[in-house]
C-alpha cells in the first residue's frame, strides 16, 4: 500500500510551485486591494466610499467558483482574448480575498483610539500625514492576525484553480495520480492535505514574525509565552511545545493588554 509514496510525493511536488505562485500572487494582489479599498471605505467622499462598498459586497458576496469560471470561460468570449489559467486564478484569488481584507484594514484603522487623531490635529498634521505617519502604523499590529487567517484561506482556495486547468497540487493528485491509482486515493489525498498543512504553517510562521515587528513598532514587548520566543531563547523542545499549546491564550491577552 505504501509502495508508491515516493511517486505520489514527487508527482504532487510538481504542482507545489504553481500552488505557491498562485498563493503568493493572490496574497500580493489581495493585500494591495485590501489597503486601497479598506482606506477608501473610510474616505470623507461619499462616492469613494460607495465604490469601495460595491467592490467589497460584489466579490465577497458571489461564489468564488463562479467568479473563477466566469473570468476563465465567460470573460474571454466578451473580450475575445484567452487569459492564462494561472493569471486568471491569481486575479480571482486577489479580488476575492481583497474584499475580505478591505474589511480587516477598515476595522483595524478604526480601532486606533480617537485620541491619536486628536493628537494629530493638535499638531496640525494633514489628514494624509495623520493616516500615513500615525494611524496606519498603529493599526498594522491589529491587522496581522486576521490577515494570517485570510492568507491561509487563500492558500486553500488555490485548490479551486484545478477547475481551470492550473496544474497545481490538487490537479496533480486528481488528474494525474487518482486516474492511475484510484485504489490508493486515501494515501494520495492524505499526502495532499499534509502539503497544504505545511504551507499553512509556513504562512503562520511568517505572519508571527510580522506581528512581532508590528508590535515592536508601537513599543509592545514580544510575548513571553509564544512559539517564536521559545525558539529564540533556545529553551528545550518540550517547553516550546507546551508554550505552543497555550500560545492562543497568551496571544489574546498580549494584544488586549498593549499599552496605548
Amino acid at each position: 500500500m505504501f509502495d508508491n509514496i515516493g511517486l505520489f510525493v514527487e508527482t504532487i511536488s510538481k504542482g507545489l510551485l504553481l500552488t505557491v505562485e498562485a498563493t503568493l500572487g493572490g496574497i500580493v494582489i489581495a493585500t494591495i486591494l485590501s489597503f486601497v479599498f479598506g482606506l477608501a471605505m473610510l474616505s470623507r467622499l461619499r462616492l469613494v466610499r460607495a465604490i469601495a462598498r460595491i467592490y467589497v459586497e460584489f466579490w465577497r458576496g458571489t461564489s468564488e467558483v463562479v467568479q473563477l469560471l466566469w473570468i476563465y470561460f465567460a470573460l474571454p468570449v466578451l473580450i475575445g482574448y484567452q487569459i492564462m489559467p494561472l493569471v486568471a486564478g491569481i486575479v480571482v484569488l486577489g479580488l476575492n480575498f481583497g474584499a475580505y481584507g478591505a474589511e480587516i484594514v477598515r476595522g483595524a484603522v478604526q480601532s486606533v483610539p480617537k485620541a491619536q487623531y486628536e493628537g494629530c490635529i493638535a499638531l496640525n498634521l494633514t489628514p494624509a500625514q495623520r493616516m500615513r505617519r500615525v494611524i496606519l502604523p498603529q493599526s498594522l499590529v491589529e491587522m496581522v492576525p486576521p490577515f494570517n487567517n485570510l492568507f491561509i484561506q487563500l492558500l486553500k482556495g488555490s485548490a479551486l484553480l484545478t477547475m481551470i486547468t492550473v496544474h497545481e497540487m490538487t490537479y496533480q493528485a486528481r488528474e494525474v495520480l487518482i486516474t492511475r491509482h484510484v485504489s490508493q486515493a486515501a494515501t494520495i489525498w492524505t499526502i495532499v492535505l499534509l502539503f497544504y498543512l505545511v504551507l499553512a504553517i509556513l504562512i503562520t510562521f511568517g505572519m508571527r514574525l510580522l506581528e512581532l515587528w508590528a508590535g515592536r513598532l508601537v513599543g509592545r514587548k514580544p510575548p513571553q509565552r509564544g512559539l517564536l520566543s521559545a525558539l529564540r531563547s533556545r529553551r528545550g523542545r518540550a517547553a516550546a511545545i507546551t508554550d505552543a499549546a497555550v500560545a492562543g491564550i497568551g496571544h489574546t491577552s498580549d494584544r488586549s493588554g498593549g499599552d496605548r
Binding site: 485620541a115 491619536q116 486628536e118 493628537g119 490635529i121 493638535a122 499638531l123 496640525n124 498634521l125 494633514t126 489628514p127 500625514q129 505617519r133 500615525v134 502604523p137 498603529q138 513598532l217 508601537v218 513599543g219 509592545r220 499599552d259 496605548r260
Partner: protein, 254 residues
C-alpha cells in the same frame, strides 16, 4: 488673543455651553475651574477645532475659527483655513496622546518637520533643547510605552512646545498621573509659564497650582461663567455661593 462671542455648544439636547462670552489677553494665564460637565474641557476642544460650535463664534487674534470669508460671505472653514488658524495653538491632553509608534525624539520632530517645514537637523536640535527643559534628555530614544505617566506628560508638553505655539491649552494634564508625579509636572508648567509669553488656557482640579500661576480664574457651572476674578480674590473671598460650595468640596476632598 481669544474671544468667545455668544458661543453655544450642544451635544444632542444637552447644552454644554450656553451663550458664552469671554476673552483672554495675550500672555495671560487663565485657569478654568468648575464641576465636571460644566463645559471647561469643551472650551479647549472648541479652540483646538476638535469640536464645532453649535452657534456663535470664536476668534483667535481676530480670525474666526469656524468660518472664513469667501467673497463677501462667511462660509464654514475648510481644512486648509483651519490648519492655518490652529497652527498657533498647542494642546496637552489628560491622556498625553503620544504616538506609540514613534520614539520620543520622533514624537517631538514629526510635526515640526511635516507641518512647520523645519529641516530634520533644526527639528532635532530644538527637540533636544526641549527634552533638556523637561528633564528627559536621557529618554530621547525611548518608546512612550517605556516611560512613566509623568515622563510621558513631560514629553507631551515638550511636543506641544516644539510647534512654537502662541497659545497652549492644558486639559487636566495631571489628572491621569500618580499623585507623586503631579508636583513635578506642575512645577515644569509654572516654569514655562513664567519664562515665555505663551498664552495659557488651563483646565485643572489642582487649586493650589491655579492660585499660584493664574492671572485670572474663571469659575464655570452649567456652561456659564459664574465668576471671573484674580485668583486671590476668587479663592479667598468669592462673590458667589456656587463658587464657595465648589471650592469647599474640592478642598475637602484633598
Amino acid at each position: 488673543m481669544i474671544r468667545f462671542d455668544d458661543v453655544v455648544k450642544r451635544f444632542g439636547d444637552v447644552v454644554v455651553l450656553d451663550e458664552l462670552n469671554f476673552s483672554v489677553a495675550p500672555g495671560e494665564f487663565v485657569t478654568l475651574i468648575g464641576p465636571s460637565g460644566s463645559g471647561k474641557t469643551t472650551i479647549l476642544r472648541l479652540l483646538m477645532t476638535l469640536e464645532k460650535v453649535t452657534s456663535g463664534q470664536i476668534f483667535v487674534d481676530g480670525e474666526c475659527l469656524s468660518h472664513m470669508q469667501r467673497g463677501s460671505r462667511l462660509v464654514p472653514a475648510d481644512e486648509k483655513y483651519q490648519r492655518k488658524v490652529r497652527q498657533r495653538i498647542g494642546m496637552v491632553f489628560q491622556q498625553f496622546n503620544l504616538f506609540p509608534n514613534m520614539k520620543v525624539l520622533q514624537n517631538l520632530t514629526e510635526a515640526p518637520i511635516r507641518s512647520l517645514g523645519l529641516s530634520r537637523a533644526e527639528a532635532e536640535e530644538r527637540a533636544l533643547e526641549l527634552l533638556e527643559l523637561v528633564g528627559l534628555t536621557e529618554k530621547v530614544n525611548a518608546h512612550p510605552s517605556q516611560l512613566s505617566g509623568g515622563q510621558q506628560q513631560r514629553v507631551a508638553i515638550a511636543r506641544a512646545l516644539a510647534m512654537r505655539p502662541d497659545m497652549l491649552l492644558l486639559d487636566e494634564v495631571t489628572s491621569a498621573l500618580d499623585p507623586e508625579l503631579v508636583a513635578g509636572v506642575l512645577a515644569l508648567l509654572k516654569d514655562i509659564a513664567s519664562s515665555t509669553d505663551i498664552t495659557f488656557l488651563c483646565v485643572t482640579h489642582e487649586m493650589n497650582f491655579a492660585r499660584d500661576v493664574s492671572d485670572r480664574v474663571l469659575m464655570f457651572d452649567h456652561g456659564q461663567i459664574v465668576e471671573d476674578a484674580v485668583p486671590d480674590k476668587l479663592f479667598s473671598e468669592p462673590d458667589h455661593e456656587r463658587t464657595r460650595t465648589f471650592l469647599r468640596a474640592v478642598l475637602e476632598r484633598g
